[in-house]
């Protein structure tokens, strides 16, 4: 009995060793993180690894435990069990947070402060010297397009403006790792594009971005890799590139279609649906699109549009997570 226990102990040590050696290149690494609130399991078993420099999308229906997971990584919530590292330090180590930025979901801030005072406060909490803040704050206000509102109190800010100032706050310290929890939920299209551009810029600069979102189009555009989470468990992790290179759906708008022509399309696609002037085909890749176009034109079809629709993240989301989530 004692011997078995000893072996088990050795195995655990080896797993630990493996786990630590992986953490060299990882910005975030967690193993079996679990959080229970009373009887309710918010996060069941979170095991994931986010590489340095990648934009990582964390997807799941509402109530899947995304925010709880982020809060555990930031030391706001203590895990019931499991462990993890953020930038090489164990969870909850406040020193690591010097290199971390966080924009919380509901962006509630001390609204009696002006934008500049707010950023100064948080810069002070990052232990940034005054001269550096004097440079950094105007830069950030410009980045998020709030330079005209520097002296305005946050109380007078719209939801979108609060989100922008929250983003500026998360970037004060030029973080190596940024957590963005639903960063665009309150933004208009202009604001969304801004956030997207900022994420791209961060990524180009080597910053790791952990993006918590249920807005799939946004994740699709910005992320390198995504994890699907349901009921606090990572169901699958996949690279978006492989998604993009995989199957795609093409939508065609054309006149003078007939049954024969539509049937002829089956040599490129197993899945052809025709609905009046609209066609929908699933293809193995985009390389065949010109051939299809040529085929249609040669058969006297007036082609108005051919729109490749990547197998969207939404489709994948539904596929992986199922439809019963989000309650």
């Amino acid at each position: 009995m004692a011997r078995i226990t000893f072996h088990a102990f050795l195995c655990l040590q080896l797993i630990d060793y493996y786990y630590l050696s992986m953490s060299e290149s990882a910005a975030i690494i967690t193993q079996g993180l679990k959080k229970e609130f009373g009887d309710k399991v918010a996060v069941a078993d979170l095991t994931l690894k986010v590489d340095k420099g990648e934009v990582f999308g964390f997807l799941g229906p509402n109530g899947a435990g995304k925010t709880t997971a982020v809060k555990m990584l930031l030391g706001l919530i203590y895990p019931t069990s499991g462990k993890g590292e953020v930038l090489g330090s164990p969870l909850g180590d406040h020193r690591a947070r010097n290199r971390v930025g966080f924009m919380p979901e509901h962006f509630r801030f001390h609204d009696w402060l002006t934008a500049v005072e707010f950023l100064n406060l948080h810069g002070n909490l990052y232990h940034m010297p005054g001269e550096r803040l004097d440079e950094r704050i105007p830069e950030l206000l410009e980045l998020v397009g709030l330079q005209a509102h520097a002296e305005k109190k946050l109380r007078a800010f719209s939801k979108g403006m609060l989100q922008r100032i929250g983003l500026a706050q998360a970037l004060l310290n030029d973080p190596e790792l940024v957590f963005l929890d639903e960063p665009t939920s309150g933004l208009d299209p202009v604001g969304r594009r801004l956030v997207r551009d900022i994420i791209r810029e961060l990524s180009n600069g080597g910053t790791t971005v952990f993006l918590n979102s249920h807005l799939l189009s946004e994740v699709e555009i910005t992320c390198d890799r995504v994890a699907f989470i349901r009921q606090g468990e990572v169901l699958t992790t996949s690279s978006l590139k492989s998604l993009v290179e995989g199957e795609l759906t093409v939508e065609v708008r054309a006149r003078n279609l007939n049954q024969d022509i539509v049937s002829g399309l089956e040599r490129w696609s197993q899945n052809v649906r025709a609905d009046g002037d609209h066609l929908s085909l699933t293809l193995s890749g985009e390389a065949v699109i010109p051939e299809i176009n040529q085929y249609l034109v040669e058969n006297g079809v007036d082609v108005y549009a051919i729109r490749p629709k990547q197998l969207s993240l939404e489709d994948l989301f539904i596929q992986v997570v199922g439809t019963e989530g989000g309650l």
């Binding site: 030391g75 706001l76 001390h110 232990h127």
Partner: protein
């Protein structure tokens, strides 16, 4: 460093939310009314046809002075609770705490910073109100109660004791529940203190014990009574009973208990906030 940032933030918040202004204006009104009242009473008693001696005059002045300080103690206690009752629970409920705690700071620094900020405010408030009362009495009548500094020190301990309790409650309870808790404790101390006073006056040991137990639950009234004992004039002490003074004097051990209690309340607040999910 972080504690000072948070302390300054706490101060600034009180300023922005007009708490400081309201406290200052009402404090000044209080002092004005007290000063005018004291002046006329003192005038009247001084030139009374009975021609009281200086000793008796000073009894009356001491009585009025203690009445003033009784109100100051009450107002400072209210300030201690009302300003801080919402500070942790409110920030947790609204979520503003998340951007603070996710910074490279330790949680105790936030609690201690808030404590420092509020303790600083309470010190200023006490200096204004109690200092003003002492000053007015002295300017108008030339009377200075004994052991004023020791007495005011005890009022200060009482204020930070309640502050600590209110922070500790706020670390785990909602604002409303915390308010119920702290005022409930305050009420226990208050009624316990009176039972002890009366028990001591009628020499009923059980009633005195009830008071002592309530002082162990929360020693805020005991601190006031010790402060009143320190500052009361010897004759009042000999008379033994007045609503604003102490018939039964809490021991120095109780004072020490009060100080340790105030410190433990702060440590408890830190410990509870440390363990809490935000």
């Amino acid at each position: 460093m972080t504690t000072l940032v948070i302390a300054r933030l706490t101060f600034r918040e009180a300023g922005r939310r007009k708490i400081l202004l309201a406290a200052l204006v009402l404090g000044l009104i209080y002092l004005a009314i007290y000063g005018v009242g004291f002046y006329y009473v003192d005038q009247e008693t001084t030139r009374s046809q009975f021609g009281p001696g200086l000793l008796e005059l000073n009894q009356i002045r001491n009585f009025l002075f203690m009445a003033g300080l009784y109100v100051v103690n009450f107002l400072t206690a209210m300030m201690a609770v009302l300003t801080s009752v919402d500070t942790l629970s409110g920030e947790i409920a609204s979520g503003t705490i998340q951007t603070l705690v996710s910074k490279p700071v330790q949680r105790w620094e936030i609690v201690f910073g808030k404590w420092l900020g509020f303790a600083g405010m309470l010190t200023l408030y006490l200096l204004l109100m109690a200092g003003g009362t002492v000053g007015l009495v002295y300017i108008i009548s030339g009377y200075l109660a004994p052991n004023v500094l020791r007495g005011l020190g005890l009022l200060w301990v009482n204020a930070v004791l309640l502050l600590g309790v209110s922070l500790a409650g706020g670390a785990i309870l909602s604002t409303l529940a915390n308010g119920v808790l702290v005022f409930g404790l305050f009420g226990i101390a208050f009624i316990g203190g009176w039972i002890e006073q009366i028990g001591s006056f009628i020499q009923n040991q059980t009633a005195v014990n009830v008071g002592i137990i309530s002082s162990l639950i929360i020693p805020s009234e005991a601190l006031w009574k010790r402060a009143a004992f320190e500052m009361q004039s010897p004759l009042v002490a000999a008379l033994g009973f007045s609503p604003f003074t102490a018939a039964s004097m809490p021991s120095l051990l109780m004072v020490l208990y009060g100080m340790v209690y105030a410190l433990l309340a702060l440590l408890l607040a830190i410990g509870l906030f440390n363990r809490r999910d935000l």
